[in-house]
Structures are given as C-alpha cells and as structure tokens.
Amino acid sequence: MKKGHRRTGFVATCIVPATLLFIVFMIIPTFNVFKMSLYKWGGYSNKKKFVGLDNFQKLLGDTKFLQSFQNTLLLIVIVTVITMSMALIFAAILSREKIRGQNIFRVVFYIPNILSVVIISAIFSAIYDANNGMLNSLLSLFGKGDNPVYWLGDQKIVIFSLAGAMVWQAIGYYMVMYMASMASVPETLYESSALDGATRLQQFFQITLPLIWTNIRTTLTFFIISSINLSFLFVKAMTSGGPDGSTEVFLSYMYKQAYTNSSYGYGMAVGVVVFVFSFGLSAIVNLLTKREPIDL
C-alpha cells in the first residue's frame, strides 16, 4: 500500500509541471483563438461583444485578406514544388553518385537551416538591394546594369524574391532528410536494375521515388504547414507585407490585425481560417498522394 502511494506521488510530481505549463501556454491560448474569433473586441478596453460569425462574414469581403490568401497560396505552390524537387534531386545525386567531398556538400547545404530567419532576411536584403545589391551587380556583368531590377520594390517581382529566400533556407534540411531515407533503399535493387540496363533516370523514378514515397508524403504535409508559418517569419523580417500589401501572407495579416491594429477578434478570425485551411490542405495533399505501400 505504501509503495502504491509512493508510486502515485512520483508519477504526479513528474507529470504535473509539464501538463500545467502545456495547458496554460498552449491549450488555453489555442482555445482562446477560437473563442475570440466570435467577438468584436478592439483595444485594451475590455469591451467584448459577442457577434457570432460576423467576423468571418466580414473576412469574405475583405480584399486585403483575399490578397493575403492569394499570396500565401502562390508561395506554398512555388516554394513547395521547387524545394521538394531540388531537395530530392540533390539527395539522389549525393547518395547515388560517387562524389568527391560529398560530406562537405552536405554540411554546406544544411547551413541555412541553422541561421535565424532574421539573418537570412538581412542577407537577402543585401542580395536584392536595387542599387548596391549582389544580384544586380552580377546581372550588370551580363550587360543589364542600366535599369536595375527592384527585387523588393516591384510589386510583381517581390513575391518571387521572397520565394527565393524561402527555397534557399529549406533545401538543405529536406535534402538531408531524403538522404537518410534513401540510404535505407537496398543497394541490390540498383545493382540488378543496372544489369538490366536501367539508366540513372529510370532508377530514380522507378526505384528511389517509389521506395521513399511514404517519407515524401509526410514531409510534404509538414512542409505545407511550415511554409505557412515560415512565410510569416520572412515577411515580418523582410518586407513587412509591402510594398502595398503585395507580400502580405495569412499570418502576417493576422498579426497586423490583432497586434498592431488591436482588432483582436477580427485577427483571431483570420487565425481560425488559416488553422482550418492548413489542416484541410494537408488532408487533401495526403489523400492525393496516397499510393499502395511497397513491401520488400
């Protein structure tokens, strides 16, 4: 009996602090996001008025929100497609070919992932600078120096400049991930297919990709969710949504409404939409990429 008491006491001491912190700083705030989205609530005054789904209705007619929706979608598509395919190609090269300095390449490609997004934003601001930037000075070598490109100032270009920075940041991480899963593909498969005269390209599409498909699916789902978050970090540090809303994304718009503009209720309604959207999109992608698992 005494032992049972001691056991309960031990379990409780171990579990209570973590659970408490988790409830206070994650569960309750998450719950509050949903609750606040149903209220009209502005500023530090405690005037909260229950308005039901009014905030959501207002969202549908908010052109700025729709623009942030469009920007987010565009970023997700471009960044996901480029990052995933490049990460896969580089992983395949580094794990399948005999490359000198293979380890050095792997170490270098991973560097962007350990840098703060603030740093990456500063680096890319220096790269994209219209007058003394690295990119424009490179372009001027090819005789395009007369009219500089405004990478961060031109509304049509800026979203692609942002995508460039995001791809730069993410490739290495996913490459290392795919290299790990490619290492588990048995070497004999490649050997026997080589005897049958399969080219490298055929091996890539018919052996490597199908065998690591489960891994690709999971990373894809996570990548979409993390792109929504990362695009916010980049926008916050690099463009602040400008020029004129052309890089506003979901979460930066939410933050602007809720924190800067103090329209808490409205901002949280944006949050709810983004939350639901990201889960919905992941579910769709998950469904679309479903294949019969391959057993060896």
Partner: protein
C-alpha cells in the same frame, strides 16, 4: 576513385553534376561570408561595388554595435533567456517523458494524445492570446497590489519558450524511452533504489544522445526566435533579445544608414550557431532523422 581512372566515366554528366553542386554550395557560402566581410567595412564603402573587399578591418563597427546599438545588452538577454529556457525545459520535460512512456496510470493516454496534438499548434497562432493573457494578468497583479511583471520580462519569456517546446521535446524523448527494456528499472528496484533515483541515476544517463539532440534543436530555435520575443518584450525602450534588436537595427538602418553596425550585429547572432554547427554537425543531421520532423 578507381572508376575515374579509365577516363570515360568522368563524362559530361559528371561535370554537370559537379557544376550544379558547386553552384548551390557557392550560393550558400558566398552570402554568408559576404556578411562577415561587410561587418568590417566603413559606412562609405557600402555605396559602390558590393564585391569590393573592405579597405581596412574597421572593427569600430563591433564596438558601435555592442554599445551604441545595445547589442551587448541584447546578447546577455539572449544568453540568459536561452539558457534558462533550456534548463527549465529539461527539468520539466525529462521526467514527464519518462513517466508518460514507462508508467501505466489513469489519464496517461489522454495526456499523450494532448501532447501529440500540441505538435500541430504553432506558436505563431497563439502568440497574441498569450500576450493578451499577460496583459490581463498584469491588470490583476496591479489590483492586488503586486508589481505587474508578466510583460517585458525575459524570465517570463524563457518560461513561454520552454512551455511551447514541450510537445516536440516530450515526443522526441518518449520515442527513446519506450525502446528501453524493463530490466533496467526492475534491477534497480530490486536493489532498493527509489523511483526518482532510478530515473535520475540509471535512465537519464542512458538517454544522453537523445538529450543532446533535444538541447541542440531547442538551442537553435530559442536563440533564433523572434516573433514571441518581439511580442512579449513590447516596450520599445526596454530589453530585447538579439534577433529582435537586430530587426530594429535593420529597420533603423534604412533611415540612419548604419550598415556597418548592422552587419556586425548579424555576425554576433550568427557566430554562436555557426560555431556550434561546425562542432556538432554530424550529431545534428543524425539527430534530425531520429527526431523526425519539426513543424
């Protein structure tokens, strides 16, 4: 190596492969090195060819950043916040992960599910509600005659960091603890060791590789974090962490054109993570596959 000697296999394809590998490597190394170079330039050197080498090692940038731009103070704040958050996280997450993965008790399943669900809650969504909670908390503290300490406080920031890192950390540690055979504990209990002693002296030392992975990943995320820090350290004149201070400097930079200081600040944020990375890069990339994905 042998293959290359017969000449033919070193084909156009190989050249192409090396070319794109080197191109990507250069596109990563050059901008990073450029920042180091820029941190040694005088302000006037920033108007002109970006590729020119610094005229001299203008170390005054670092002195200015350290004192005038308050980067020294911010650095200290960042070190304290990161260290405290890491310490707190380990003290809280280790026992919780251990108990959750190795003891049967009522409510275990629901707590496990809750922490798993927590993996999908990104702090960017909940940072404003946390901020508002602290605003309310401060009002309450004032009412009962205590100093309102919840905002603009790096210790509170550290607690929030630790709390929001719990799901990922517990997930990663539990993944290791469940793989251990029961024999270790049974032997320890036979020898009369208490539960806590068994946990601290037998189990935790065995989990060292996982613990190191946890420390590495969370160090990077705490050190580089700026959305929570920016929101909770709201006082424009008050203390900040290094990335937040740097972001302000980037924005002030447009007006005051103090590039040198800004790049010196960048080096200060970047250098600790780069040094750490060089020391432990193998552990980090191995740990990544061990821990699965981060959100």
């Amino acid at each position: 190596m042998k293959e290359q000697k017969n000449g033919k296999s070193f084909s156009l394809y190989k050249v192409f492969v090396y070319a794109i590998l080197i191109l990507l490597a250069v596109s990563i190394i050059v901008p990073v090195c450029w920042v180091f170079m820029a941190s040694l330039k005088q302000n006037s050197e920033f108007y002109g060819n970006p590729w020119s080498l610094p005229a001299s090692f203008y170390l005054q940038n670092f002195v200015d950043a350290w004192t005038k731009a308050r980067m020294g103070e911010y650095m200290l704040n960042s070190v304290i916040t990161t260290a405290l958050a890491l310490g707190l996280l380990l003290v809280i997450a280790l026992p919780a992960a251990y108990v959750l993965s190795r003891f049967q008790f009522h409510g275990r399943k629901i707590i496990n599910v809750a922490f798993m669900a927590g993996l999908f809650i990104n702090v960017n969504y909940i940072v404003v509600p946390i901020f508002l909670m602290f605003v309310d908390g401060n009002l309450f503290l004032k009412k009962i005659g205590l100093p309102p300490f919840l905002l603009n406080n790096i210790f509170v920031l550290a607690v929030v960091y630790a709390a929001t890192a719990l799901p990922f950390t517990i997930y990663l540690l539990s993944g290791y603890f469940v793989t251990l055979p029961k024999d270790f504990e049974e032997a320890a209990y036979m020898d009369g060791a208490s539960y806590s002693r068994t946990m601290i002296q037998i189990i935790f030392p065995m989990a060292k590789p996982s613990i190191i992975t946890v420390i590495l990943f969370n160090f990077l995320s705490f050190w580089n974090e700026y959305i929570i820090a920016m929101t909770l350290l709201a006082d424009p004149k008050g203390g900040k962490t290094l990335p937040v201070g740097l972001m302000n400097l980037m924005k002030a930079q447009n007006a005051a054109a103090q590039y040198g200081q800004m790049y010196a600040g960048l080096v200060m944020v970047m250098l600790p993570t780069l040094i750490l990375y060089i020391c432990v890069q193998k552990k980090l990339t191995q740990g990544m596959t061990l821990g699965g994905l981060k959100g």
